[in-house]
Symmetry: C2
Subunit: 117 residues, 2 copies
DNA sequence: TATAGCAGTTACCCAAAGGTAAGCAAGAAA
DNA sequence: TTTCTTGCTTACCTTTGGGTAACTGCTATA
């Protein structure tokens, strides 16, 4: 991960903190995955993520939009149609998400005893 | 990330949630990086991480030990000497941390305007 | 006419996370 | 002898995250 030097240690930590600042909370990565999986409407996303509430979803969608990870497009029909999409920039999170998936899967196998440490 | 299917979407989300359950909070990854960088004593770790407090550090170290990501060894001298080390298992987080670093660095360049989206 | 769906908002509340400050026992250093 | 360091713990408080439930205006469907 990093070498035995005060400065290098900080240099290893700060980018991780920067990343976590954007990705904190239980829901943000879930929402990105859901939208990326083809759920573009508010209710679609809400239904696709177990236990999420509309209040939290609305808040997190705003956050993600501010961070340029998704776009919100309103089609002026009635009733209003709103479409959420991930941005090309959010694709840069692909590796992060993939590694988290790999590690999470492995970890679950370990704590459920399917695999020794 | 994942395909347009309800089931596949869940299969993509759940491992991420499992991983986040272990890694939540502002401090856990910082602490792992610090120990890995050669800080093995409580005060060393504390000093190496800006703004962390002893209370929070003590709590997070316990969490990490429970999750088998670090070990705590007490040398029976006086005054007591305590040594924290990362486990081989924690090395499996290497890729996750690396990808977070890469993304965090890139993201900082973008928000500071050093690089366009 | 009643119900359900859309995309949220609002008010209220709770628990967990985290910060602040102080202290403790033991020994080493000044 | 007083201060400093180590490895924490305790009590208290604030902030944040998030849950519950109801409700909005609008439209399509039964």
């Amino acid at each position: 991960m990093c070498e035995i030097s005060e400065k290098r240690c900080l240099e290893a930590m700060l980018p991780v903190r920067d990343a976590l600042d954007v990705l904190t909370g239980k829901w943000k990565l879930m929402i990105l995955i859901s939208i990326n999986a083809g759920n573009h409407r508010f209710r679609e996303i809400e239904r696709s993520i177990p236990k999420i509430t509309s209040k939290v979803l609305a808040k997190e969608l705003k956050d993600l939009e501010e961070h340029k990870l998704i776009t919100r497009k309103v089609y002026d029909q009635s009733p209003v149609l709103v479409e959420y999409k991930t941005t090309p920039y959010s694709d840069t999170l692909g590796n992060v998400i993939e590694e988290l998936q790999i590690w999470g899967r492995n970890h679950r196998n370990i704590i459920t005893g399917k695999q020794p440490i």
